[in-house]
């Protein structure tokens, strides 16, 4: 699958198969993170059907290896922009599960204060600069974050980098083209990651993209591209690490495509009728979690008992997250007008529906 790109310039890869420090504990850590995301998403789906969560709710089910691999390659000081399919990234980036769930529940303690919901997770502390609900909308701001980094830092090993995630279908929108072109002509330290889960809602990549080998689409900007198996957490980490090194070291934008599969519908409410039973059967076989568990057990990094312990601990963590989130208060209505503006100015509108345009109390 990962046929090398003709334009590939991923540079010298400094990691061996597993990468430095890949003792069993690190690998078990990745497995635990994947499991944490899996269980979080399953509980989120459940909470949605129980109406604890409103609006749209998009899950990372099937993308756990991609999420964990990408986040493992990122430094705490790097910046991350994601799509609305963002729960796993927030968790892997280090956000408390309780605060992520609280955001889905619309509580004040949520990652975005309950104002953004599932699609709009933001965590300034962990430099997660937002989940974005407008397809492609995050690409220009992510490019601008890279501009700010380049404005302040020379290329080099200590330079920050920006990672911008987008879905396969987002490669067809103008913002993708304009942003990659800007990153190329301005030499910005950014890695664009196409999380190719084969579908945009119900539309297969081939039906939407004139060049369905999406990693090749950097060709219009001389941006090197590479494709990696998104079901292989270590391969993803390795490719992402190399891309990030090139971005920070040379201020060279890179395009990385991870190929994985969306195990469920587009969002919780989508029954995905457009998929055949055969498809679904195939998908179950492609599930990255059992695959990685087997791999770890085969290499001796994990044994059945340890796996059970991890599952139990993760279930526990998520259960507590749900409880904590459920007990958390919603934002106060008095806070409705908070954060509309950062700099207070005269005559800002603080009217509730039905209020007169001029406060009658004001003396005439």
């Amino acid at each position: 699958m990962a046929e090398p790109s003709p334009t590939s310039a991923a540079g010298p890869v400094t990691l061996d198969e597993h990468g430095p420090g890949d003792d069993a504990e690190v690998l078990r850590g990745y497995y635990r993170q994947m499991r944490l995301i899996r269980v979080f998403e399953q509980r989120a789906a459940e909470m949605y059907t129980r109406a604890k969560i409103g609006g749209y709710c998009h899950l990372n089910l099937g993308e756990e290896a991609t999420v964990v691999g990408l986040m493992a390659a990122l430094r705490p000081t790097d910046y991350l922009f994601t799509t609305y399919r963002d729960h796993g990234y927030a968790l892997a980036r280090g956000a408390e599960p309780a605060r992520v769930m609280a955001e889905l529940f619309g509580r004040a303690s949520g990652l975005s204060g309950g104002r953004g919901g599932s699609m709009h997770l933001f965590d300034a502390q962990h430099r997660l600069l937002g989940g974005y609900g407008i397809v492609g909308g995050q690409i220009p701001p992510a490019t601008g974050a890279a501009l700010a980094v380049a404005y302040r830092h020379e290329p080099g090993p200590d330079c920050d980098a920006v990672m911008c995630l987008l879905g396969d279908a987002a490669t067809n929108i103008g913002a993708f083209h304009e942003s990659l072109n800007l990153a190329a002509v301005w030499h910005l330290p950014i890695v664009y990651v196409i999380v190719n889960n084969q579908l945009g809602m119900g539309t297969p990549v081939e039906a939407a993209a004139g060049e369905p080998e999406l990693f090749r689409r950097g060709c219009s900007y001389r941006i090197p591209g590479q494709r990696v198996d998104g079901n292989d957490v270590l391969a993803v980490r390795k490719a992402a690490h190399a891309a990030l090194e090139q971005a920070r070291g040379e201020h060279q934008p890179v395009l990385l495509e991870t190929v994985s599969y969306r195990l469920r519908g587009h969002s919780v409410v989508d029954p995905a009728r457009y998929r055949s039973d055969a498809d679904n059967q195939r998908l179950r076989e492609l599930d990255p979690l059992p695959a990685f568990r087997t791999r770890l057990i085969d290499t001796g990094a994990l044994d059945a008992d340890a796996a059970v312990r991890i599952h139990a601990e993760v279930d526990q963590v998520i259960a507590e997250a749900v409880d904590t989130a459920d007990r958390a208060p919603a934002p106060a209505v008095e806070a409705l007008f908070d954060y509309v503006y950062a700099t207070p100015v005269a005559n800002t509108d603080h009217r509730l529906p039905g209020d007169p345009v001029i406060d009658p109390a004001v003396p005439r």
Binding site: G54, A108, H120, V135, T203, A335, G354, V357
Partner: protein, 331 residues
Amino acid sequence: MTYRQALHDTLRAELLRDEDVLLLGEEIGVFEGSYKITAGLLAEFGPRRVRDTPICEEGFVGTAIGAAMLGLRPVVEIMTINFSLLAIDQIVNHAAKMRSMFGGQVRVPLVIRTPGGGGQQLAATHSQNLEVWYAHVPGLKVLAPATPADAKGLLTAAIRDDDPVLVLENLALYNTRGEVPDGDHTVDIGTATIRKPGTDLTVVAYSRAAVIALDVARRLEDDGISVEVVDLRSLRPLDRDTICASVRRTSRAVVLEDDWLSYGVGAEIAATIAEGAFDYLDAPVRRVAAAEVPLPYAKPLELAALPDAAALTRVIRDTLDATVPPVRSAR
């Protein structure tokens, strides 16, 4: 029949009636539409007539414009009005301008269907009511059906009209029910309608707000308050005569709108009434609109920010209580 069904049946009827009609939009085919308006149409008419597009609002709306220039009658679905911002250059700088700018040599028989509306906890970027932007633009026609019957009548008229028409739907209306005339049914573009006659006060509204207004008006009947409800149906052209004639009878008016108050649709309505019925007004025209914030996800905040029946009822009562102070002595 539901509002959704009325839209679906209208699209089907027009596809059957005219070979030049085709549908374009994201996920309208295989996925059967985000809100299932186009369910079954791909199966019945095939990919030539019902075309799934990649995600590229500017591209596929502009493409529909070009197809319309050659005489096709594309009906485009933009998944929600929020995403129309990506296509607005094609809609406003191209579709709306071409006929006039090119000296009448071309027609653009394009229909853009798109739902607006908040209240679904879709948060700030997915809950907007931006129809006022389009209503501001000469060259466009902007319709906003509130009932299943008008959904059929206005969409049919839009598809048969030779100009670019934006048909505003509403997420909160898709499941609402109402009588729908059988057979060929069109509503005249540019005409408002009086949903309920009344003598004490006129409420002007459109789309979802018109439904709420009618509901409030009915309930106020029990308290002996007679409210007339004007449903605009068409934001551009705007039926100022019907609005002002109503207010000249009732002498009081309130506007209910889902968009933000400042520079919203209600501003034009209130300004029109204040000018066109000046001599007849016994109280200021009040507007009941959304709080001026990016709509938050959290339910309590969303509820607090959006106009509702309670707010409308309160303002109607305030307006009826308001009396005209002797103008001279007031200064």
